[in-house]
């Protein structure tokens, strides 16, 4: 156990490093935002909005080879009520845009959107009368992932970037709900 201060801390050996266990015992001091965001960033429940070929790579990322569960976001939910991160993977047509927006509206706060691939980000190569030129025209997007399609590694990279973004969010106990600001009370 020689030189490892963390292990010594957990076994309550008095230490010159880390917390002063004489004063604080097993108490950790932090900010509520940091804790809440840490929890949220490690339990992202994606809503797989698979609309075209990019969805195949999304499935690849969920499989054993790329294994998105290593990052705590393997629980893909096909109900918007149970998801908090919509991964838009594919071409959004104007006919489908309505559905994408409705599903986004049905997701519970806090929620995030990842635009996976060229089509979801900008319309991609589909510059035509039928294709929405970027899903950010109808929903707020947090992360854009380039590629046509992006490899599963790129998706994982984007999702880790999203985790980073979630961890840096401020005011995570405050949420606007139907125009009102609601504050979550911490019960001690």
């Amino acid at each position: 156990m020689g030189g490892c201060p963390n292990l010594r801390q957990t076994t309550m050996v008095k230490s010159d490093f880390g917390y002063n266990s004489k004063v604080e015992g097993e108490v950790i001091v932090t900010r509520a935002d940091a804790v809440v965001n840490w929890v949220r960033s490690h339990s992202v429940w994606p809503m797989p909005m698979g609309l075209a070929c990019c969805a195949i790579e999304l499935m690849g990322a969920g499989g054993s080879r790329f294994d998105i569960s290593r990052f705590g976001m393997e629980v893909m939910r096909f109900s918007p009520r149970q998801a908090d991160c919509m991964i838009v993977a594919g071409t959004v047509t104007y006919k489908m845009a309505e559905v994408v927006r409705r599903i986004y509206d049905q997701m519970a706060e806090p929620k995030w959107v990842v635009a996976m691939g060229a089509c979801a980000s900008t319309g991609g190569m589909y510059r035509s009368y039928a294709t929405l030129q970027g899903v950010d025209n109808i929903v707020p997007v947090d992360i854009y992932i380039s590629g046509c399609p992006p490899r599963p590694e790129a998706l994982l990279d984007g999702m880790m970037l999203l985790q980073e973004k979630i961890r840096q969010e401020g005011g995570s106990l405050k949420r606007t709900f139907r125009g009102r600001t609601v504050e979550t009370k911490i019960v001690r």
């Binding site: 190569m125 589909y126 510059r127 035509s128 009368y129 025209n137 707020p140």
Partner: protein, 195 residues
């Protein structure tokens, strides 16, 4: 199948020049009976394709092309039929597979299929006012409201012409080959703030 089999039975039918398979120009009035005859008497039991054509300068302007396959004789036949007042008889009562093909030809070209059991659009939404594969329709599209009024209100989004410059079908000067789809830059505009 000899060409005479068809032209004798339907005198209005003409043989068209073709490089791959026997091709006939069929009169609209004869279409349903021709397809029935080919299916029941000549073994052309599979409708392989049905599509619309916009001939632009010809009269009649719109036409339909039907490919039939005989699964017993391993033969194809192609039927051309011109639209009268933009209408063509439906063959979906003979070949159920024609149902969605005819809806697509209606959606894209505005060709009406008389006798079709469900003559709705199939790709674009029902209220869409144009037929996008007509020659005069710009590839970028024409601005119309989003299909859902409530979503349009929340997002402020409309169905807008797509930016063409830099896209796959735009020639940066010079002339493109006549055989390729091509487009002019019609509305490149990056100034619109995103949601």
């Amino acid at each position: 199948m000899e060409a005479a089999v068809l032209t004798d039975r339907f005198p209005r039918t003409q043989v068209l020049a073709s490089q791959d398979m026997p091709t006939y120009q069929v009169a609209g009035e004869d279409l349903v009976e021709t397809v029935r005859f080919l299916r029941d008497a000549q073994g052309f039991d599979l409708l392989a394709d049905l599509c619309g054509i916009d001939w632009k300068d010809r009269t009649p302007r719109f036409g339909v092309v039907i490919h039939l396959l005989s699964t017993t004789h391993k033969e194809y036949v192609r039927l051309h039929v011109g639209a009268v007042n933009d209408a063509v008889p439906s063959v979906s009562s003979l070949h159920p597979g024609a149902n969605w093909h005819e809806r697509e030809a209606f959606d894209m070209f505005g060709i009406r299929f008389e006798g079709h059991p469900d003559p709705r659009r199939i790709l674009m939404w029902d209220a869409y006012p144009y037929h996008p594969l007509r020659k005069e329709f710009p590839l970028a599209g024409i601005e119309v409201p989003l299909p859902a009024a409530d979503v349009a209100e929340v997002t402020g989004q409309t169905v807008e012409p797509a930016p063409m410059m830099g896209g796959p079908f735009v020639s940066p000067g010079g002339k493109m080959s006549e055989g390729e789809p091509s487009a002019l830059d019609q509305s490149w505009n990056e100034e619109k703030p995103k949601a």
